[in-house]
Amino acid sequence: MSKILLWKYAAIVVVIGAALYFLLAPNEKDKPFNLNLGLDLQGGVHLVMGVQAKGAVANHVSRLVDEVLAEAKTNKIYTLSARSMSPTRQEITFAAPREREKFKEFVAREYPGLIYADVDERHGTLSLAAEEAKRIEDFAVEQSLEIIRNRVDALGVAEPTLQRQGKDRLLIQLPGLDDPDAAKRLIGRTAVLEFKMVDEEVTPEEALAGKLPPGDEILYERTVDKVTNQVLKRTPLVVKKRAVLTGDMLTDARVNIDRQYNQPYVGLQFSSVGGRKFADLTQANVGKRMAIILDGNVYSAPVIRERIGGGRAQISGSFTMEEARELAIVLRAGALPAEVSVLEERTVGPSLGADSVAAGKLSMIVGGVLVIVFMAVYYRFFGLVANLALVLNIILILAGLAGLGATLTLPGIAGMILTVGMAVDANVIIFERIREELRMGKTAAGAIEGGYDKAFSTILDANVTTLIAALVLFQFGSGPVKGFAVTLSLGTVASMFTAIFCTRALFDGVLATREVRTLSI
């Protein structure tokens, strides 16, 4: 046997060995053949969330403008009001034209990040520079991703995927989870926790009738039906707009059970700064009511009985255990800097996933057996060799998936099934060529050589076009479709190796070891 042929065999053995290693190497997660199954096969939740990053900018601007106006006031520059024009711009009304000039100077000196522009004698606008707005948007998206990651981690999902997608979208995949609603509640909640003082000087009725004092706002406490999730009652409450304390001062939030009423509540632990602030606050406001507000909804508004030290507080309400647990998770992970909403959701239950795997396997076996029988009958010995190549091809595709850490999806299985049909194509092209060469009167060895040589460029061209299509699919596809593109590409590349290289080496080996007069083709 020639040296080249021996090298070829060595290469084949190495490839098969590597493939078996990828498939059979032990892994800590007990995945069959080290394959990552897609959400459509193992079940799970796929979410695409949109981050309203503009909202984060608007919040930032209104906070900043409030601060500027307050600072201006301490510097004896008097403004009447600020009105939002766009997320990045607010219009300021001045008490007198003279104030405007002072204000302009003050902003230029103290707040170089803000751009002031005159409107008329009594009005001017404050706006945020475009790059600064963009930076805040970008940061809001990144921060949302991190906070959601923390919340998901608390959920205890094995191997979640969280990725930023494009400018303001987040891709979240939670394998094995089959309650998308719980996931959405946990991920989608903004979770802004605020403590605000209740304004006792007006009743909610008066405020609703239009006597809302400046600096106050009306918020509602909702009573929700546990079964239907319908809002039964909304109780209005007048509170000071300015929050006296916010959730970013928290270090921990845990679920506890109230022994007396056997009710779950969420216990909060403030940071040392927050704890001191809370103690001072409660001391100064004994006898008054403080509202605990989450995402604009009042949870409770207890009366402060005494100074509360130790930095502890609690949120009680009529929670179920599950709600309390979710609330504790989102408070611990922190508030999202902007609102997020679900743009796309795909959930597959585990039983449907298992059904899909079974159906995929069955059609693969049936299709594969039909092809194998056909090849053996039609091409006899050559057909058997092609079948060997086919089986090797499937092993290589699976090994490729395992080695690349790619994900096998339902369309991916379809891609493998399709590859079974197409992988024999290369052998069909070669074998038909060999038959032609034989008809022209060539010897066995000559026909094999001629057949392989002439078929090669055809097969290459044909496969490259399939690869082009697969590549485009990979670029544009998401999830399942991407899985299809990966198996199709792997199958095409692997078939070049198995159907051409391996079969040729086998035939050459036979030719080298014995004298062959006629071919069983």
Binding site: E344, M375, L418, T466
Partner: protein, 310 residues
């Protein structure tokens, strides 16, 4: 003696019947386009936005009862259909808000109890994502076609690329037409199938083109029509065999692969059948036609030159 599907020495005059096959294709494409115009495509929620909930019931539940249960939710137009078996139902609505899926589930559980109904799959796509996905799908098909033209132009000649693209557009048009006629749902996986067909149909076409090029090189004196006819005949057994094995597996997938992948398998089935047909009856004749037209142009140019000289 070996088995053969196509007898050795078969000489079918494919090019002689070009008009017939072009007429058949045009008729079929025309029919598909009429259906497309009248019915449009049944776009899935991937492109249109909306919500799909797939449920499995313990016993067969009449569709009307499910419909009644859902009426209380007030989602507008709700379509309920059997999905593979009478116990598997697919519920779809055009509403794609966050809460729709939860509402549907809640009302079903309330009506039938959670022992009776199990939610197998829930998909919800917002209108913005739907529009994005549609744009991406169209772009993907356009990119794939463009890249293929470039590749074939580099490897062959431009006239082959033109012929291959005409064959491809033919295949895609017929597949899309088949979806318009049957009203089957077009979703992301169907687009994936169409792109696969683009690859597969080309694969087939290229095998024939390769042979045309080879035969043309070896028999430069032979008329182009004869070269093409001969090449198609010589590759006929391979074309039939490969399409055969591929169709066998796709048919297995179509019948056994399960409901989720049914439309995808249907697109592949149509596409592969049509792709095989087009590489024999459409792509090769176009090469011949282009060649003939090119030759006429040259002759016309020659005439012009000689007449100006006169």
């Amino acid at each position: 003696m070996s088995f053969t599907i196509i007898p050795v020495g078969t000489e079918i005059d494919f090019l002689g019947r070009t008009r017939l096959f072009v007429a058949i294709s045009l008729l079929l494409i025309g029919g598909g386009m009429v259906a497309l115009f009248l019915n449009g495509l049944n776009q899935g929620i991937d492109f249109k936005g909306g919500t799909v909930v797939q449920i499995r019931t313990q016993e067969v539940v009449p569709l009307d009862e499910v419909r009644d249960a859902l009426r209380t939710v007030g989602l507008g137009d709700v379509v309920i259909q059997e999905y593979g078996s009478p116990r598997d139902l697919l519920i779809r609505t055009a509403a794609g808000d966050e809460e729709v899926g939860a509402k549907i589930k809640a009302s079903l559980l309330k009506q039938f109890g959670d022992k009776q109904v199990e939610v197998e799959r829930q998909e919800q796509v917002g209108p913005q994502v739907g529009a994005d996905l549609r744009e991406q799908a169209i772009l993907a098909i356009v990119y794939a076609l463009a890249m293929v033209v470039i590749y074939i132009t580099v490897r062959f000649e431009f006239k082959y690329a033109v012929a291959a693209i005409i064959a491809l557009i033919h295949d895609v048009a017929l597949t899309v037409g088949a979806f318009a006629v049957t009203g089957l749902e077009v979703d992301l996986t169907v687009v994936a199938a169409v792109l696969t067909i683009v690859g597969y149909s080309l694969n087939d076409t290229i095998v024939v083109f390769d042979r045309i090029r080879e035969n043309h090189r070896e028999n430069i004196q032979l008329p182009v029509t004869d070269v093409i006819n001969r090449s198609v005949n010589e590759t006929l057994s391979r074309t039939v065999l490969t399409s055969g094995t591929t169709l066998v597996v796709v048919i297995a997938l179509f019948f056994l692969g399960g409901e989720v992948i049914h439309d995808f398998a249907f697109a592949l089935l149509v596409g592969i059948a049509v792709g095989t047909y087009s590489s024999i009856f459409i792509a090769s004749p176009v090469v011949a036609l282009w060649d003939r037209m090119g030759r006429k142009d040259e002759e016309a140019d020659g005439d012009a030159v000689s007449s100006s000289r006169a």
